[in-house]
């Protein structure tokens, strides 16, 4: 398997990049398409066939939707084409997610990109692409097909056809971003060792410190793995002349659950905001649904449930989606009653921030247990062990060292990302990039356990 952190991938990418750089800018998409199809085929030949078929359906449907936009054409025909393609794409995704034997590589990502494209064409936000192969290049790009970010085709398509040329400064920053991603992947793998050991033995209780160590390791693993992949994708994209959207903005520094969902997997949440939540809220409801709060609450519950199911087609993720929706609604109600604001405002700004971020991270960590535990009973047992374990709380030298090492694995990637966002000039400084790259390279070569898939590649 060819993952973005494997030596095989980087060898293939180096050869690809040399060829890509020598091609005229207007022809680079051809090589990018060939490389992307080869990348998907290296994972799963069947996925290439599925990708090709659904891309063809999307391409023709979008052309039909566009051709029925003229005033003389019946509106119903346009809607019919939209619904035909949307139902087919969703059926393809649901069947693939329901049966492991047909779980196509990258299906959740390319399906959502295609759905977004069709709805944008239907809404008149972008014209239907006339070249099938240009569209296929945007749908299949190896940079993001396996784990996002989910790009808006209308914005990304022009970059595929006419990528920008690479400057030295841009290349340095791109390489540093890639190294940051690889280092995060290595951290994620180390944290996974701690989390996996714990979650493999869920049939009995664990003591409190070990449980906190494991759930913090899980939280750190999720962030390091997924944001690490995004860093690599954005870095490779920059080298190829693409500007990919950011997918994370230090989510564990959020001040509320709603804020967390604006900072975690940003492109997925924006997708749901554009194509599910907002249209649902704006539906003309029957009389008993006229209450605005009820309409917003139901739309939010449905959107968060679907986000949960997107992460995994099982009960755990469905409950996790509902858990997040409930917390967001609770936060809204408390904010409306001003109770929470009054309580938090009673301290200074620092106390307020610590309380807000601390409670958000605490609730999100409890939620992540739902996605990792083998059953609801297992998750409830972990929640109990986090607070009142029957085995109590045992402090010992090695246990405390492991706890703080895990905490560092959770916090350090966040601090680096926080600096990148708040002090961008620092990450343009040649000396900082050089010393930082050297350090990251040594770290990756020492600690990397390459060749394991990224978590979101399972989607």
């Amino acid at each position: 398997m060819m993952h973005l952190d494997s030596p095989t991938f980087w060898l293939a990418f180096s050869l690809f990049f040399v060829l890509y750089s020598f091609l005229p800018i207007g022809r680079r998409w051809i090589l990018a398409l060939i490389a992307s199809l080869a990348f998907v085929a290296a994972h799963q030949i069947a996925a290439v066939c599925d990708l090709f078929i659904v891309s063809l359906v999307t391409y023709f449907s979008a052309l039909q939707i566009d051709s029925h936009r003229v005033e003389s054409a019946p509106v119903r025909r346009r809607h019919l084409w939209s619904w035909f393609a949307i139902v087919l794409l969703i059926s393809n995704l649901v069947v693939a997610r329901s049966f492991a034997s047909v779980a196509f590589f990258g299906i959740s990502f390319f399906t959502f990109q295609m759905l977004g494209y069709l709805i944008d064409v239907q809404r008149g936000q972008c014209p239907a692409e006339r070249s099938f192969f240009n569209l296929l290049t945007a749908f299949t790009s190896f940079v993001y097909i396996s784990a996002g970010p989910i790009v808006r085709t209308a914005r990304f398509q022009p970059q595929v056809v006419q990528p920008s040329s690479l400057k030295i400064a841009g290349a340095r920053q791109a390489c540093f971003r890639i190294l940051c991603g690889l280092a995060k992947k290595a951290i994620g793998e180390m944290l996974a060792l701690v989390a996996n050991t714990y979650f493999a033995k869920l049939s009995s209780h664990h003591e409190t410190l070990a449980t906190w160590t494991a759930v913090l390791a899980l939280a750190g693993q999720y962030y390091a793995d997924f944001s690490g992949y995004t860093d690599i994708a954005i870095g490779i994209g920059s080298l190829m002349g693409y500007e990919l959207p950011e997918n994370f903005r230090t989510p564990y520094f959020s001040t509320s659950v709603a804020d967390y969902w604006r900072r975690w997997h940003i492109t997925l949440n924006e997708w749901f905001l554009h194509y599910v939540f907002t249209p649902l809220c704006l539906l003309r409801p029957p009389a008993f649904f006229r209450s605005i709060q009820l309409r917003v609450a139901l739309s939010l519950i449905l959107s968060m449930t679907l986000i949960g199911l997107w992460h995994g087609w099982n009960w755990n993720n469905l409950i996790w989606g509902l858990y997040n929706a409930s917390l967001i609604l609770l936060g809204l109600t408390l904010r409306k009653s001003l109770l929470l604001d009054r309580f938090i405002s009673s301290g200074g700004p620092l106390i307020r921030r610590i309380l807000q971020t601390g409670s958000t991270v605490y609730l999100m960590i409890l939620g992540q247990v739902l996605t990792r535990a083998d059953s609801l009973a297992g998750a409830l047992r972990i929640w109990q062990d986090l607070h009142f374990s029957p085995l109590g709380l045992r402090f010992g030298g090695p246990r405390l060292v492991l706890f703080f090492a895990v905490l560092a694995g959770l916090v350090i990637p966040h601090v680096v990302d926080h600096l990148r966002i708040t002090r961008p000039a620092l990450f343009c400084n040649g000396r900082v990039l050089f010393i930082g790259s050297l350090f990251l390279l040594v770290f990756i070569l020492t600690f990397s356990i390459s060749g394991r898939p990224f978590l979101y590649e399972n989607h």
């Binding site: 809404r123 604006r262 809220c281 917003v296």
Partner: protein
């Protein structure tokens, strides 16, 4: 129209603040995507009009809301 809009803002944010064309979600704590949709639905109810998804997603500041209202709302 501004007074009615200020009343709508109060219903959503539970506090008063001066409404200007330049005011945007960045200037008001708590004006997130959920508060935004509540605001839109309250405006629809107050002025008896309806917005499309695209119109809602294209809104950038209060000035855009004024422009949409001027286009859609015909005072009796």
């Amino acid at each position: 129209m501004t007074a009615r809009l200020e009343a709508v803002f109060y219903r959503v944010f539970r506090r008063t603040f001066p409404i200007s064309r330049e005011l945007s979600a960045w200037d008001v704590p708590g004006w997130d995507s959920i508060a935004n949709i509540e605001l839109i639905l309250e405006i629809e109810k107050e002025f008896g009009i309806s917005f499309s998804t695209q119109e809602v997603l294209d809104l950038k500041c209060v000035g855009d809301i004024f422009d949409l209202l001027a286009r859609k709302h015909k005072p009796e």
